[in-house]
């Protein structure tokens, strides 16, 4: 087994002479993934990995082993260590996260298969076996070089987007917004006198718009950014330009500040409402993880601060 692994890594410039003994230690030491109950219909689970905290080369090799060849090829297609690492962690996070829910007794992250819907949105391809009814598990991933995140729900379509708070656009914000956002959003940004705050508001808007389109799952060309407005005055709502008087009630949003450094936007298909059509808050459980190494429940701590939308963290 080990020699097979060594052969398969000849394509990497991973000619570390210490690899043999490190990997032997590591392969004996890998603990199982901590299993987790599936989210209830009303819950959203957020899992994230901080790439800078994952430094062990043997651990990263182990993650690579979880992937089928075409996903390894995809990871290796990225230019440079940092991009390859966050691509690897994105695939690892989605596979290990779904595997934790123990949907099928012996679910191994390696054995998960994925497919894309007709619009290109990734989905799990569950095995068809007698007596096995696949759960309506929905997920979406997003990553930057400094954060990889995965959102999971039961039933509710979900889109998530993460971005560094300090992300700077190369173009002037208002020029960009005039080109790609709606008039209302341009007006909203234009009204912010402080350029730093304006930049942050832009990033928040961007992540919310991305999350919405990803939740819809129909591809970006079906919902160009200038065809819908995100309104974030009291609560967050989306309004499509073709029906401006009706705020689209099917979708609810959460905007989080993670670790003081990132914005995370979550868009969910609304499942149930409270009395008189009022939306119920999003019930969020957030966990930071290094798969197979450690998991930390962070919702309700200052690592995860709700800055928009109605969210209950637990």
């Amino acid at each position: 087994m080990l020699s097979f692994l060594r052969r398969s890594y000849l394509n990497f410039s991973f000619m570390n002479p210490h690899y043999c003994c490190l990997s032997r230690n590591f392969s004996a030491a890998l603990p199982p993934l901590l299993p987790v109950q599936l989210p209830s219909r009303m819950e959203t689970h957020l899992w994230y990995v901080v790439p800078d905290e994952v430094k062990s080369a043997p651990l990263l090799s182990k993650y690579m082993e979880l992937l089928p060849q075409y996903e390894r090829d995809h990871v290796l297609g990225f230019r440079g260590d940092q991009l390859q690492k966050s691509a690897l962690l994105a695939r690892t996070l989605v596979r290990t996260t779904i595997a934790r829910y123990q949907v099928d007794d012996h679910l191994d992250p390696r054995s998960l298969r994925f497919k894309r819907n007709i619009h290109g949105k990734p989905e799990v391809e569950w095995e068809t076996k007698d007596g096995f009814c696949p759960p309506p598990l929905q997920f979406n991933i997003s990553h930057t070089s400094s954060l990889v995140a995965c959102g999971v729900t039961m039933n509710s379509l979900i889109g998530i987007d993460v971005e560094e708070k300090r992300r700077r656009t190369k173009n002037n914000i208002l020029a960009f917004a005039k080109r790609y956002f709606t008039a209302h959003e341009v007006e909203h940004l234009n009204a912010i006198p402080d350029s730093e705050l304006q930049q942050q508001e832009f990033i928040k808007l961007w992540t919310l718009k991305e999350a919405y389109v990803k939740a819809l799952g129909k591809g970006f060309s079906s919902s160009p950014f200038n065809t819908f407005t995100i309104r974030a005055s009291s609560g967050i709502a989306v309004e499509t330009l073709d029906s401006p008087q009706n705020l689209t009630n099917n979708w609810q949003f959460a905007l989080l500040e993670l670790m003081g450094s990132h914005y995370v936007a979550i868009c969910l298909e609304r499942q149930e409402t409270g009395g008189a059509g009022k939306a119920l808050p999003i019930k969020l459980t957030a966990r930071k993880t290094i798969p197979f190494v450690e998991d930390e429940l962070v919702s309700g701590t200052n690592a995860v601060v709700t800055i928009g939308g109605s969210v209950t963290q637990f």
């Binding site: 570390n16 080369a57 990225f78």
Partner: protein, 128 residues
């Protein structure tokens, strides 16, 4: 857990990007004659030059070193472009070539060649 951890990620070799053959048919663009037409208006640029200009805009947006190898086959995502970068690149290309790219066309751009082909088509329509 192994005690001797590498301080940086495994140095995985990037895959070499093959050079695009000039005049090679591309599935997503119309076929071009091998030689440029005799009447050549200044604003209708030749393919290699377009690819070069696109590469320059991409490198600038992604803050890549000037010597980074970016060819027609290079995928924006593989170079590190996320969706915001891609939109900014398209905006940069609109300015560079004085064209307007529809959002659904912009979404179909995955490689430098895709962008160059789209630009050439838009510029050709302008020249015509």
């Amino acid at each position: 857990m192994a005690a001797a951890s590498a301080s940086s990620f495994i140095p995985l070799k990037p895959r070499p990007t093959p050079r695009v053959k000039l005049g090679a048919p591309q599935s997503f663009s119309f076929r071009r004659p091998a030689l440029a037409p005799a009447r050549l208006r200044i604003s209708c640029v030749a393919k290699p030059e377009t690819v070069e200009k696109v590469a320059k805009v991409v490198k600038k947006q992604l803050a890549l070193p000037a010597e980074t190898l970016v060819t027609g086959d290079s995928k924006f995502a593989a170079l590190g472009a996320d969706s915001l970068d891609t939109v900014e690149i398209v905006m940069g290309l609109e300015e560079e070539f004085d064209i307007s790219v529809e959002e659904d066309s912009a979404q179909s751009i995955a490689t430098v060649q895709d962008a160059a082909d789209l630009i050439e088509e838009l510029v050709r329509k302008k020249c015509a």
